[in-house]
């Protein structure tokens, strides 16, 4: 964004690119270089951003640090989503940057997304020079003011001696407790001032204590409730993944032998192909999971926040249940649903202490419960009715799953019908494999997140499942991905519509379709224009061959334009604000069909 006149002298300065970090000794340097030293110290190898006037000093410092690889995104939103994909695939903070003004404001969507999905991101922005702050100078925006609700915390650094320590603290805070995004805003003149800096001695202003642990008494009471439960459910959210608690979660669930349901964000924390798994909860979740939740007598909520997409009508949700709520963020406890047994602490640590206390759980006491849950599981599978002519998105996604499941791919999605179908038909047996915009529902998240995830996990097969609406929102991701030969594989369920909005207009607005039709898109040609491979799948017969062809591409991004049925709706559907009896399990359109359904 914007530009700065380049002085004649600057162009002639001798430059050398060091292959090793510069001397890691205390020395005089510009604050911008001290900042980059902190990035190196924090292990930042990948950095997504777009330069501009106010961040030029930082980019100039980066010039000497080839070990911090920069990816030039074509819009800052892509940078922040890429940092998010990187963070969620690797478990380490993602780092992104934008310049002052529009560069910074373009980050806000991605920061808000990361805030709601608890994704650790460090965003670095430039600010106008100190003397011009508050004077409405060129490309000034009050980004710290604007991102107060979109970050865990942010800083505007006035003092050059505090730049490095603030960025260091930002890394600490992003990962501390409930993870999330932070932002550091540095005025251009502050970047340029000289400081005495010792890369080996950086101290943050605040110290962050380890998250508190629940008391022995509260653990004992929760364990007693669990031991008494006759119809328990383990309700797993994204916190199980953030806290790297999969192993402990599996131990815990196997100890009880209880049904395990995950949220959209929790997918993969517990192996979904395991017999204890009852699938995904919520609006478009598995009917079995929702019935199990509704009829349970004890919800064991692990790193989940009783979001409206899971509870729907809150006061009709799980009416017979007591609640054990294990949660790292105390402000989540009693926010939506009162916790009878609150356990405030890091999920992994809490489970390590809780599991031994429930070792005596008698599996016979839930045998009747399992008979009931098993009945639901058998009675309400996912089903789709593929015909010979037109591709159903469910069929395409299911086929992609069957083709790739043995490789445990990382799968990102955008937002809408394709996202829900991917969540339904892709089963994940490992954490950090399913990366989607859960809380904010950000169309355009999928491709940047796939790029970031692929950069962080270069050996993993990385797929992005998108829709034609979402694909266009951050389409220029393809330029950066092709420039760096990042071999993401993008499968666009192209139904020439904003499918989910179309579905709501059909069901709740008496088919008054408005502003949802998007004709004449040739996505394969768009991909080719960006230097990617573009493929098309036009009929059900094309699917397997085209997908295999796409999966063989390893040196550049590939986009598969999947020509889908235009009017297929996503079921089960449990409309917002309703109780569970309003859940519609099967698509009424296929009632009495002679087509053979595929069940999963």
């Amino acid at each position: 964004m914007g530009y700065e006149p380049i002085s004649a002298n600057a162009a002639h300065q001798p430059t050398t690119i060091a292959s090793e970090p510069r001397s890691r000794q205390k020395r005089t340097m510009k604050a911008a270089e001290a900042l980059v030293e902190v990035l190196v110290r924090e292990g930042t190898e990948h950095f997504f951003g777009h330069p501009g006037g106010a961040t030029l000093p930082m980019y100039d410092a980066l010039y000497h640090y080839p070990q911090v690889k920069h990816y030039l995104v074509r819009h800052e939103q892509i940078g922040v989503h890429a940092a998010s994909g990187f963070a969620r695939a690797t478990g380490r903070p993602g780092v992104c940057t934008g310049t002052s003004g529009p560069g910074a404001t373009n980050l806000i969507t991605g920061l808000t997304d990361a805030m709601l999905d608890s994704t650790p991101i460090v965003a670095l922005t430039g600010q106008v020079v100190t003397t011009w702050i508050g004077k409405d100078g060129f490309q000034e925006s009050d980004i710290t003011g604007m991102t107060i609700p979109a970050t865990k915390h942010n800083w505007l650094v006035h003092n050059e001696h505090e730049v490095a320590s603030t960025v260091y603290e930002a890394f600490k805070l992003a990962m501390h407790g409930r993870q999330g995004p932070v932002l550091v805003d540095v005025p251009r003149d502050v970047y340029q001032r000289e400081v005495e800096f010792d890369p080996n001695d950086v101290v943050a202003k605040h110290s962050y204590r380890a998250p508190s642990k629940p008391s022995a008494e509260s653990l004992r009471r929760a364990a007693e409730a669990i031991l008494r439960a006759e119809r328990p459910i383990v309700y797993v959210g994204g916190g199980a993944i953030s806290s790297n608690a999969s192993k402990e979660l599996i131990d815990f669930a196997l100890t009880l032998g209880a049904p395990v349901a995950t949220t959209l964000m929790g997918k993969g924390a517990f192996p979904e192909t395991h017999e204890l798994s009852v699938g995904m909860l919520g609006m478009h979740g598995n009917a079995c999971a929702n019935y199990t939740m509704h009829n349970t007598d004890l919800i064991i909520a692990l790193g989940a926040r009783f979001d409206d997409r899971v509870t729907l009508k809150l006061d009709a949700f799980a009416p017979y249940a007591k609640v054990v709520h294990v949660e790292i963020d105390p402000a989540e406890i009693n926010k939506n649903r009162r916790a009878d047994y609150p356990l405030h602490g890091d999920l992994r640590t809490v489970l390590q202490e809780l599991t031994p206390l429930v070792k005596g759980f008698k599996k016979e006491q839930i045998a009747a419960w399992w008979r009931q849950v098993g009945e639901w599981k058998a009675k309400y599978p996912l089903v789709y009715y593929q015909n010979a002519d037109t591709i159903l998105p469910q069929f395409a996604i299911d086929t992609l799953y069957q083709l790739t499941k043995d490789r445990h791919p990382i799968v990102t999605t955008d937002v809408g019908q394709h996202q829900m179908w991917t969540a339904q038909f892709f089963k994940f047996d490992k954490p950090r494999k399913f990366i989607t915009s859960g809380g904010l529902g950000t169309m355009g998240y999928g491709m940047p997140a796939a790029m970031g995830a692929q950069v962080g996990c270069p050996n993993d097969l990385t797929l992005c499942i998108s829709g034609d609406g979402s694909f266009m929102q951050c389409v220029q991701t393809l330029m950066t991905a092709s420039e760096h030969n990042i071999p993401i594989k993008v499968f666009v369920m192209n139904n020439n519509h904003l499918g989910m909005v179309r579905q709501w207009q059909e069901l709740f607005y008496q088919e008054r379709f408005n502003a949802v039709h998007m004709p004449n898109q040739d996505l394969a040609r768009i991909a080719e224009a960006f230097g990617c491979v573009g493929l098309r799948a036009k009929t059900p017969d094309d699917i397997e061959r085209t997908f295999k062809q796409a999966l063989e591409v390893t040196d550049k991004p590939v986009v598969v334009d999947v020509f889908c049925a235009q009017d297929e709706n996503c079921y089960p559907m449990w409309p917002s604000g309703t109780a569970i009896d309003a859940m519609i399990i099967d698509n009424p359109k296929y009632a009495g069909t002679t087509l053979k359904g595929v069940t999963r």
Binding site: P149, S212, D329, P330, A331, I333, L343
Partner: protein
């Protein structure tokens, strides 16, 4: 019911903005809010009154406690506390009613802090209900303008002090466990 919450904040620019933003975003309705300096220049102290349920007051406290610039938060509603509110009232007081006003000033142990031939400025301090009563008595006489501090509160003698030193020495926890 009315909850009184005391918080110790870092004395930095923008902290009040962050707190205001939290209340707006979470839809917490503030009855009164006072922020002032403490005995240490690095910290300021906030007294907050919210009229809300026990559950929501707990959420207010927990959300405040999460903020980086908030050092300590305590809901002191159910603790023995001393509470004060101060009002300055400018009132019409010509010769015809001045004596009557002066009677009220005396009854409420208030203080005249400025005077002109037709007006008085009166200062009254006490529990809010006492200030309310005084204002109710004055209102028919014609209040010209009025300013109030809102509640400030302090736990009574013998309880753990809410001071920077107490927090930094570890007597008070940064966040409260369940």
């Amino acid at each position: 019911m009315k909850h009184t919450i005391i918080a110790l904040l870092e004395n930095e620019p923008g902290v009040l903005n962050r707190i205001a933003s939290l209340f707006r975003r979470r839809n917490f309705n503030i009855e009164s809010l006072t922020v002032c300096r403490t005995e240490s220049p690095d910290y300021s102290r906030m007294t907050l009154v919210v009229d809300t349920s026990e559950t929501d007051a707990e959420l207010v406290r927990k959300n405040l406690a999460k903020m980086i610039n908030v050092i300590d938060v305590q809901d002191v509603t159910h603790e023995p506390i001393v509470v004060r509110d101060l009002a300055l009232v400018k009132i019409k007081a010509d010769a015809a009613i001045r004596a009557e006003i002066m009677d009220l000033v005396q009854i409420f142990n208030a203080k005249v802090v400025d005077v002109s031939p037709d007006e008085l400025v009166v200062e009254v301090v006490g529990y809010e209900s006492r200030v309310d009563n005084f204002l109710n008595m004055l209102r028919p006489k014609g209040i010209i303008e009025m300013a109030r501090t809102g509640r400030i509160a302090m736990p009574r003698c013998g309880s753990t002090p809410h001071t920077p030193t107490a927090v930094l020495d570890g007597h008070l926890s940064l966040t409260n466990d369940q």
